[in-house]
Amino acid sequence: MAIPAEQILLVTKDGERIHIDELIDRLRSESKRILADDEVGLTLYVGDLDIYNLKPTSSGEFLAQLVTEVSRPRFAARVLRRQIGASMISVTGDAIFVIRRGNTLKKVRAENLEAGMVLALGEKVYQ
């Protein structure tokens, strides 16, 4: 959610890396895929292409999530750098993380993440 396009790590179902700019340039000629192409940016439907977004975990592995749309916004929001587990990631301030707090889970926006917080999947926030 709200992660700028250049930071998304996309792969095929076989694990092959996909470059989002190449993907968008290839697919934008298929008009039926275009959900929005206007003053705000371009959004394409890719839900049928078995494309996954990889999110890093502290163990060095990646969590694969099916991607249904890819976007190229014309005006990106401010980006923050955060170290989650062993990885540095770039996210917008309003990207949502789910953290553990005692026996409950709580949603926290990236700009409110603090060192020492532990995400729902066990990764620790270092900075």
Binding site: M1, A2, L35, A36, V40, S71, R74, E111
Partner: protein, 327 residues
């Protein structure tokens, strides 16, 4: 058609523009559940019905998909109760549906309190404007544009795939993704300096540069109150002192040619003719750019800097020593 307030009328008109006449849009609708074959809804009056202020847009016929929109014109931000009410309506319609899938969306130009998010995500309702990390105030016009964008995108999306949107919070996320980028767009509009023509979309320095870098200068033009560069590929850049326009629109760039044009060369800004500048600039590629408020400047093949002013041009060499590279 009667509208409860001005916001409803604008939303209705936006929905019509976005979805066209082939999509049914109803207003002040009495909604009834489709299937009354459940003991808990049996009554002496017949199936339960509720009159609500709603824009109901049918997006797909088989299977039938309907978007129920609640337009909230409030003095302050919408509260959880407003979202809860709509969640109950949409949930009931889906529970007693006879094959129709209902999606719900709440539109409140004054925004939402943070407590609404959990209700919207758990009940899979879209919120416009989106709830962002920092409190943003979008004007009503921008919220209506978001509404139109979401309707067009949803209309295209349901023709391709819809099942995944039914699982919370997929529809909430879908609406969020399509409306969240208005944050950066709003800031760009506030600046109001760069524009893409002929759409007249707000643009940015980086987008302008991405469009022209590597392009070959074919001509430089002076017109009434502005200067322009014509690039290869029928691309133009026009500068009038406060506004920078980029695009293939010929209409402005081919406006009345001005005879009052001032041109300067070298660092000392010695007067020269537009022909002298054109002789050097034409055929060179754009290699850099800078915005200096009263003028904008472009690097040409990393050898020259070409400046556009409201009423003229300047050109100088970027190579050293200066004395050996005077024009």
């Amino acid at each position: 058609m009667n509208f409860k307030n001005e916001l409803e009328r604008k939303c209705f008109e936006m929905a019509e523009r976005a979805l066209g006449k082939n999509v049914t849009i109803e207003h002040n609708k009495t909604i009834k559940i489709e299937s009354a074959l459940f003991p808990e809804v049996a009554s002496f009056k017949g199936p339960p019905a509720k009159e609500i202020d709603v824009l109901a847009a049918t997006l797909h016929d088989s299977p039938k998909i309907v978007l129920l929109v609640s337009c909230k014109l409030l003095a302050g931000r919408a509260e959880p109760a407003h979202v809860q009410e709509w969640a109950a309506v949409v949930q009931t319609m889906n529970k007693y549906s006879n094959g129709t899938t209902y999606f719900g969306l709440v539109l409140s130009p004054t925004g939402f309190t943070s407590g609404t998010e959990s209700w919207a995500t758990s009940h899979n309702l879209g919120l416009l404007p989106p709830l962002k990390g920092r409190r943003l105030a979008f004007n009503e016009d921008t919220v209506l544009r978001m509404f139109g964008r979401v309707l067009r995108a949803l209309n295209a999306r349901v023709q391709l795939q819809v099942d995944d949107l039914m699982t919370p919070p997929a529809f909430f996320d879908f609406v969020f993704r399509l409306s969240a980028d208005y944050e950066g767009h709003q800031e760009a509009i506030t600046d109001g300096r760069y524009f893409l023509v002929p759409q007249n979309w707000a643009s940015s320095f980086s987008e302008m540069y991405a469009a022209i870098v590597g392009q070959t200068v074919e001509d430089i033009l002076a017109m009434q109150g502005a200067t322009a560069i014509k690039f290869s590929g029928n691309l133009f850049l026009r500068f009038d002192g406060s506004r920078v326009e980029v695009g293939p629109d010929l209409s402005k760039a081919q406006g009345a040619t001005s005879t009052v044009v001032q041109c300067w060369k070298n660092i000392e800004m010695e007067k020269c003719t537009i022909e002298a500048i054109g002789n050097v600039a034409v055929g060179k590629r754009i290699s850099s750019a800078g915005d200096f408020a009263t003028y904008i400047e472009f690097g040409l093949d990393q050898q020259f800097n070409l400046g556009l002013h409201r009423d003229g041009f300047h050109l100088h060499s970027t190579e050293n020593p200066i004395e050996a590279h005077r024009l």
